[in-house]
């Protein structure tokens, strides 16, 4: 028998409170033991905030694939219109709602098809030499530093430069939109966060909207061979893309195109630093870089709360029937450690094969840029392991309180007496475990 809208399991009060804390102030450094407990004791959890929280692999996968769970309807409730919201901001928020990741079918695939060919292995093939050049130049810039912040010096610059060139957005403007992108991912979509958090995110949306309207106007006069131009052409044809969809999707591309990969580079290196024997193995066997990157994606993925969905009818998840109009989040970081899918899920093992993590999502919203992200991650870690010995951790990093799982910074140093161009995995020191 299925129950409607109630928890079947006996719910530990501390755990319930922890879930609320996790969703409202997610700077928790190690959420995994509590996530595992939630997965075991109350996998279809109705939180005190009203949001349903799914943690089992099968449920996360099923809900993401089930289009009765609407992203568009959920996004409508995230607009955050305030009493004093003026027309200009309302227009920007509407454009935001029209971006690809906030759409259901058939609109989702109509927009996605315009973009997809740029992000296939074939579409990216011509960009590979340039991406390698960008990675090499960024790594050159830290080669003489003994101690540096990997997140700001390497993690961010690489995907930022790559997405700028693909899109046709001047990288010199990144001082502007870099801060807007951070503010918009800081928006808590589960409960809207504080009013200050909401207003900052809205201001970022407005700034982005103005920026891209100006850029689009200029590019209409001087077209290029880039994504902005490609989308402008689709919009000018009339029935393929509206102006709001054009602007919204450009905001999505630049934000999703670098915030996720940038932080995945930081999270990935942090995985290696916490598991020095795995780091040493990767340096010794560079061909493991593909499986190593998949394991980093599984073990410490950047999506934390993800994009909520809204049920458009009563839907069964596990043993519970979720009522129509319910909000739900899928915790992919919990699903990635589900022991019914992954052997020894809490081990970080760079040789893991058939790694079926859900870090790029499943269903129609599977990451548009997964091929690009994987390429950037593999090429960067390959270059790091080729050019540097094992870094050492300078201090235990802290996690940002944002909607993505990201480090504030990752201070690393080269071991004493090492040569930057030569890798010697022998000088490692077990820093923390």
């Amino acid at each position: 028998m299925s129950s409607v809208g109630t928890n079947t399991g006996v719910m530990n009060k501390d755990l319930a409170r922890w879930v609320v804390e996790y969703m409202t102030d997610p700077s928790i450094s190690d959420p995994y033991p509590m996530l595992a407990e939630l997965q075991t004791t109350d996998p279809v959890h109705h939180s005190e905030l009203g949001t349903w929280v799914f943690t089992r692999y099968a449920d996360v996968d099923q809900v993401a694939r089930d289009q009765r769970w609407s992203r568009f309807e959920a996004a409508q409730t995230e607009m955050g219109l305030l009493e004093d919201t003026d027309d200009d901001l309302a227009i920007a928020l509407r454009a935001q709602q029209m971006m690809l990741i906030n759409r259901d079918e058939p609109d989702h695939t109509r927009i996605r098809r315009l973009l997809q060919k740029t992000f296939t292995p074939k579409g990216l093939a011509g960009w590979m030499p340039r991406i390698q050049q960008i990675i090499d130049s960024v790594i050159d810039s830290v080669v003489d530093l003994d101690t540096f912040d990997f997140v700001s010096k390497v993690g961010y610059p690489i995907p930022e430069m790559v997405i700028c060139e693909l899109m046709g957005v001047p990288h010199s403007d990144h001082d502007l939109w870099g801060a807007w992108a951070s503010k918009s991912v800081a928006r808590n979509r589960v409960n809207s966060g504080t009013e200050e958090n909401l207003r900052e995110a809205q201001q970022a949306v407005l700034n982005f909207n103005h920026y891209f309207r100006d850029l689009v106007a200029r590019r209409r006069q001087n077209p290029g061979n880039d994504l902005v131009t490609l989308l402008i052409r689709a919009e000018e044809e009339g029935d393929r893309l509206s102006e709001d969809e054009l602007i919204g999707t450009l905001v999505m591309l630049i934000t999703a195109g670098h915030e996720t990969t940038a932080n995945m580079l930081g999270n990935g290196l942090y995985c290696l630093l916490r598991h020095p024997e795995q780091y040493e193995l990767l340096i010794a066997q560079p061909s493991l870089v593909s499986t190593a990157v998949e394991e980093m994606l599984r073990y410490e993925p950047t999506p934390k709360l993800g994009l909520p969905r809204l049920s458009t009818e009563p839907i069964q998840v596990g043993e519970i029937t979720i009522p129509v109009g319910s909000r739900a989040i899928m915790l992919r970081n919990a699903a990635n450690r589900d022991p019914s899918v992954f052997d020894d899920p809490t081990s970080f093992d760079i040789t893991r094969v058939e790694n079926r993590h859900v870090s790029f999502g499943t269903g129609i919203h599977f990451c548009l840029g997964s091929v690009l992200a994987r390429t950037e991650l593999r090429m960067t870690f390959a270059a790091l392991c080729r050019r540097f010995p094992q870094f050492e951790l300078v201090e235990i990093p802290s996690w940002r309180a944002t909607g993505v799982r990201a480090l504030n910074s990752l201070m690393v140093r080269r071991p004493a007496h090492s040569d930057a161009t030569e890798s010697s995995g022998h000088q490692r020191r077990k820093v923390i475990e």
């Binding site: 694939r65 997809q116 292995p121 790029f360 499943t362 129609i364 599977f366 997964s370 091929v371």
Partner: protein
């Protein structure tokens, strides 16, 4: 092995090409196509089909 692709469902994620590059390719619009069903081990193809985010790949016969 015979593989069927539902091109209406396919969102062009490229996950199949990523997993089994000798078996799958993508057309101009990014939709998956089968290059050579026998080019890689059957287990790889099964894994690629299971990994399709929208379930657009079906293995018709082994």
């Amino acid at each position: 092995m015979k593989i069927a692709i539902n091109t209406d469902k396919c969102i062009g994620s490229g996950n199949c090409v990523f997993t089994a590059p000798d078996v799958f390719d993508q057309d101009e619009e990014g939709r998956a196509v089968v290059l050579d069903a026998s080019a890689q081990p059957a287990s790889t193809v099964v894994f690629a089909a299971a990994g399709c985010p929208v379930g657009a790949i079906t293995i018709v016969e082994k």
